[in-house]
């Protein structure tokens, strides 16, 4: 038992054995899911609440499926239907959920640090499903599992994370996880989308795709939000695609067996070309989704172990 924290709020600060434990367990859930067997007694009687203050289809569905496969009672709460829109504060919402005796609370919020605030108040184990531009820990775990299964290892690989690093929680969690596990991590993107001090996180910064992808084992693309154009950080979508969109030509700089990843949802023709996104050999984008369920099962399993031990 290496993972000892009550919550999963961030990848930053996790040690390699804890990450390794989650990945190994997730790997075993991949096999279980594929075999069609279920483990519906593991979280029987436990309540999992998906509290989403921001729209999300795949992450919420993935947590819901993971919870149900382990036998938990899963409740979805989204901001549009909850009383948060009526002026209830995050603190009040947390107190309400606490009174409902929820065991596992999955939170997505557009503000960095919101899950940390909730974790101070609720009794449940809090799982960060993406907070602002801070972290998205389960995304990094599912990306690592995908890489590990495709490449047979994580340590020593060259991973290029490309695009809007400044506003990406996926990038931050991946940087922490991959550097902790011994990858060489590069970040590639225009200077206006590169956050200050990013090199201090242990990555090498590139502003040119050919140089950044040179010899890479993994090319990880990030979603570019339309807002970046309206705020002037990028002049236009076509200019962005010309210099930072992944197409076959730019991918040629990476290793011949390099894999292409994207956390979704994709902006085809903005950060990624369809021929690359749909390439059956290079693209592992669909596999990432499958790994997402397994990783979330592993996280729910590990975070509920203390409760289960106390009950038995």
């Amino acid at each position: 038992m290496f993972y000892r924290q009550k919550h999963l709020l961030a990848i930053e600060g996790l040690e390699p054995p804890a990450i390794g434990q989650l990945l190994d367990l997730a790997d075993s859930y991949v096999l279980l899911n594929r075999s069609g067997k279920t483990q519906r007694d593991l979280l029987r009687g436990r309540t999992l609440i998906n509290l989403f203050f921001e729209d999300s289809t795949r992450t919420r569905t993935s947590f819901e499926l993971a919870g149900k496969r382990l036998g938990a009672d899963v409740i979805n709460m989204s901001v549009s239907t909850s009383s948060v829109s009526k002026g209830e504060t995050l603190i009040d919402t947390a107190a309400t959920l606490n009174a409902m005796h929820c065991d596992l609370l999955v939170v997505r919020h557009d503000q960095s640090g919101a899950p940390h605030l909730l974790a101070q108040i609720v009794d449940a184990a809090v799982i960060n499903a993406g907070d602002g531009t801070h972290e998205h820990p389960t995304q990094a775990l599912l990306d690592a599992l995908t890489i590990k299964r495709r490449k047979g290892r994580i340590a020593g690989l060259i991973v290029a994370i490309c695009g809007d690093i400044a506003h990406s929680r996926v990038a931050r969690s991946n940087i922490h996880l991959l550097t902790t596990m011994g990858c060489q991590v590069r970040v590639v993107g225009p200077p206006t989308l590169m956050p200050a001090g990013i090199a201090d996180l242990g990555v090498t910064v590139f502003h040119d795709m050919a140089a950044g992808l040179d010899g890479a084992d993994v090319v990880m693309m990030l979603r570019l939000q339309r807002e970046r154009m309206s705020k002037g950080q990028v002049p236009s979508a076509r200019e962005y695609f010309r210099f930072y969109g992944l197409d076959a030509g730019k991918l040629a700089a990476a290793k011949p067996d390099a894999i292409v990843m994207h956390p979704g949802p994709m902006n085809r023709g903005v950060e990624i070309d369809s021929t690359v996104a749909d390439d059956p050999i290079r693209s592992v984008i669909k596999e990432q989704v499958e790994m997402g369920v397994a990783v979330r099962m592993a996280v729910l399993d590990v975070l509920s172990r203390d409760h289960r031990r106390n009950d038995s």
């Binding site: 503000q111 960095s112 200050a196 996180l201």
Partner: protein, 423 residues
Amino acid sequence: MTPDTLFSGVRILGSGIDLRGDLLVRDGLIADFGPSIGRPGDATLIEAEDAILCPGLIDMRAALGEPGFEYRETIGSAALAAAAGGITTLACLPDTRPAIDDPALIRLLRARGEETGSLTILPYGAVTRGCRGEELAEIGLLREAGAVAFTDGCRAIASARLMRLALSYASGFGARIVQHPEEPSLAEGGVATEGEQATRLGLSGIPAAAEAIMVARDIGLAELTGGAVHFAHVSTGEALALIRSAKAAGLAVTCDTAPPYFDLNETSIGDFRTYAKLSPPLRKEHDRKAVIAALADGTIDAIASDHQPRDADDKRLPFALASAGGSGLATLLGITLAHVHNGSIPLAAAIDLLTIRPAALLGIQAGRIAKGAVADLCLFDPDRIWKVEAGKLPGKAQNTPFDGRALEGVVLGTWKHGKRVFG
């Protein structure tokens, strides 16, 4: 008639005086002081052998909750906190609701201060109507009513043209313009100092250069107009270097800083601690050291509390949504003394930064030890220890960025016009 008070065997310190002896207060004034003075038999005797008696502190920058934000702080609660912190005079910011842009409000605040019996309140007037940064407020009428200087509080005067007009116009009334030095378009949306820490936490950054850029602009405008500009809560080495050279060039440029900027750095925001969310944001360690150096070499003219009362609802929010500002009245002296104890600032210089120097900036006769001077006094034990605890501070505002900090230096008593108001 208040009976006489005799401080006996204390160290009397401030405005160039440093001696061990006695000080006699009569009719609200300092009647006499020295190594041995005549001792009237009926005086209230205060004996405190290890204590220091200095002028009551003059806090040149504090926000009061009134008018408009009484849920955060009232003048009554601020007066309690000030007295507990050894503060007897306080200059309050005008970015309230309504803003202090009318002579009647200046008179009201001054009168409300007198009503407390413990705290002189010197209101700043708004530079612009409503502190909206659009058109000049009635600077002359506000000055006449008793506005001590002019500022838009936590809002920078963004337009260079308007700042030029303000400096120029106010100079005709001998009034200083106090700027919140932050270029607003660079700071927009930012909640922490730009760099590794903000990037790790996924928080929007404000570049440290946003301060220096505004300082550089306003030094240029002070030179152009001949007006006097004062930069509040200066927090970066770059800005201080600009201020240092402007002073050397003989321009009417002054500045203050506040305890968070020489005691804390950005790591205090840790895992999203909103009590350490301030404006300007806490800086990097090299900037903190630059502030210390500027305190030691005299570039910084005053230490102000930069008191910004907030309640739990303002702060118990995700970091970016939480309101910026820390309470500071009760910790002004203690945090300053911490940097006397560690050898960064000489004691006498520290006391002057809290008394006579801000008094000079505000143009008031206060903050000094002299025969015939008003007996606004602070008696403190420089070595006694205490711990800052949010929830246990005097006054209403508990939002201290120094929660948990152990300090040496306890206020034993505060006297306003010869009357004991604390301790």
